[in-house]
Amino acid sequence: MKRLMGVLAGAVVLGAATFLTPAAWAADKGKVYYLVPTLLDEFQTGSVTAITKFMKDVGYETVALNADNKTDVQQGQMNDVIALKPSAIVLAAVDFNALKPQIEAARAAGIPVMQFDRQITSTKSDLTSVAGTVEIGHVAAAEIERLLKEKNGSVKGKVLQVLGDPGDPYTLDIQKGFEEKLKAFPDVTIISKPAMQWEASNAGSIVADQLLANPDIDLIFVHAAHLSVAAVASLEAAGKKPGDVLLVSSNGAPVGLDLIRKGWQQVEVEQPLFAQAAALAMFADKVVNKQEIKPGTYDVLGLEGVVTNEEWGPNIKIPGAAITKANVDDPRFWGNMKTPEAPVKSVE
């Protein structure tokens, strides 16, 4: 029995040594930990694939940790990762403010922190790559302005805005951008309702109720493509045909693109997932080596990314595009799920 235990213990030690040896795991330039807020939607799962691929292009191995949309879990992950001393941390924060102490702790420990998709302005980071959620609201508002004008002859009508969870600043930013742009059009009535927990059936219920309470709704604007599927299901159940009620969505997920192809949806405002991820990889060497990132315009996968120096550090903003029937099949949209094959190169 003792012998057996000894053999087992030896095997465990040997296995652990093999498993944990840096040579067995480390890529050329070390590890980058990507702290993804959730894996419950295509954008987030797509972001893991894209960041892993682009970081590999520039010599880093990516390890992704899922926080399951829980702030406390992500805080714990940050603490654990700091102890592992990686080359860098990429953070897509569950909560914009709650992660501030961990970001500061990581940077104090000499580990650079890059923000992905969610801008944290309360403390300094080493790089922030965002689409600009307020800007997504602006793009959506411009498209909705166009659609209402085409439908009603002028920019007037009734718009149902279906937000995501009201506790998520992502959706509140989009709402802010959207409503500030449409303020210029007093003949547009906006009814805003949140789909709690970003849950599709909640969005479906809101649309079903509002179609009865406000049968003259011209357009529905939903803050995520997976919610628009439920919205379409309710439209269909209410006997509507594609185009009867206009539909605009944001984030650029595959399901939104499919709805455009089928005629149910007119516009999807894309978050440029690939470009946002590629920007991190392009500047990873500079971030890891603590070199200056110069403000200016950079070509990121064919899109124009603008780097500015903000109070919270270097910030690259890449504009989201409006996807319509005319350009829906363009492979540069992440919703078409074709991760760019050409390797990303580090910025010199």
């Binding site: 894996l39 419950l40 939607d41 295509e42 987030q44 799962t45 009201p166 309702k193 949140p194 709690m196 927990q197 970003w198 849950e199 599709a200 059936s201 479906g204 219920s205 809101i206 079903a208 109720d209 509002q210 009865l212 309470a213 406000n214 997976h226 599927v229 439920a230 379409v232 299901a233 269909e236 159940a237 997920a253 595959p254 399901v255 499919d258």
Partner: protein
């Protein structure tokens, strides 16, 4: 001294209290909220009650028998995702079809029920055979069930179920979609089983006093295991209906419905101590929650109030339950 007629009247009110509250709430909303009073809105309330209503059947049966099932929400999501992956055409959907096409309905339903039955049987094994605590076992199933949904889908969604399934959400009878009728019929069938069959009566006895039930010759273990499998299958049915409603499945489908279901069950008069409860009452609880949700959808009230109100209602329901016990004691 209370006359027998008056006592009967009081008993009737106590037994159907949730229906009276529902009636009052509906009248109140109809008078105060513009556009609330219309057949379409009432049909929507019934439609929106489909999933929580179906989940509540299985949960009620188990609670009445003296057990807990926290896994039902995950089972529902898992069944919806399996149906979505197999039958939806976009996203992670494989778009399987059958000839003749109408076979899609029974086959997808059988698959959803089987998914639920498997999880229910697993819960039953741990609770009945290994004598583990049902709260902990089903909590574990809740967690791994959600994990399995994410793992199976890779976080992606399955979209666009075939029209053979979608017709259940689109076609209506008396303004109410066919899928909601399925939930109503299921409630009626299980209400009948609970009140009019030996299985149901034995379940109430087990929940009231398992030792006495055992001594009375009731096969407690077998009945409990059957109830777990039933609850799982009913959650599978809820998942099938939810997938049909949303024309597919997302990884976070149905998140939070467990708590709504618990709220409805408690409001509907099922005692968490077991042995007491009726399914029509539970369905009234479900309708009550859905009518409040609809009111919030139509009013300018911030959505945060939904959970506040629902939480308050659960407390009120428990309070009423305690008061009912007191009144009944005085009547006896």
């Amino acid at each position: 001294m209370v006359s027998s007629n008056r006592r009967a009247a009081i008993e009737f009110v106590l037994d159907h209290l949730v229906w009276f509250i529902l009636f009052v709430v509906l009248v109140l909303f109809s008078l105060t909220i513009p556009n609330y009073f219309q057949i379409g809105i009432f049909a929507n309330i019934v439609e929106q009650s489909t999933f929580v209503g179906t989940l509540a059947i299985g949960l009620s049966l188990l609670i009445i028998a003296g057990y807990m099932d926290l896994s039902i929400e995950s089972v529902m999501a898992l069944a919806a995702m399996v149906v979505g992956i197999l039958f939806a055409k976009s996203g992670v959907g494989l778009g399987f079809g059958f000839t003749p096409a109408w076979l899609v309905v029974p086959i997808s339903l059988a698959i959803a029920l089987s998914v639920g039955a498997i999880v229910g049987a697993s819960n039953a094994f741990f609770v009945v055979r290994l004598k583990m605590n049902s709260f902990i076992v089903t909590l574990a199933a809740y967690i791994w069930g959600r994990g399995l949904v994410v793992a199976l889908s890779g976080g992606r969604s399955a979209q666009e179920l075939p029209s053979e399934l979608r017709f259940l959400a689109v076609e209506r009878f008396l303004q109410i979609p066919l899928m909601a009728w399925i939930a109503i019929i299921a409630t009626l069938v299980f209400a009948f089983i609970l009140n009019r069959t030996p299985f149901g009566r034995h379940l109430l006895m087990i929940g009231g006093n398992p030792t006495a039930a055992y001594r009375a010759g009731i096969k407690v273990d077998r009945l409990t295991a059957t109830t777990f499998v039933l609850a799982g299958s009913i959650a599978g049915l809820a998942g099938w209906l939810l997938a049909i409603r949303t024309s597919g499945a997302t990884a976070n489908l149905g998140v939070g419905m467990l708590f709504q279901t618990f709220a409805a069950v408690v409001i509907g008069g099922v005692s968490l101590k077991g042995g007491v409860g009726s399914l029509p009452g539970v369905y009234a609880g479900v309708l009550l929650l859905a009518s409040i949700q609809t009111a919030i959808n139509l009013m300018g009230m911030p959505a945060h109030f939904t959970q506040l109100i629902q939480g308050g209602m659960v407390l009120v329901a428990v309070l009423l339950d305690t008061m009912k016990l007191g009144i009944r004691k005085r009547l006896a």
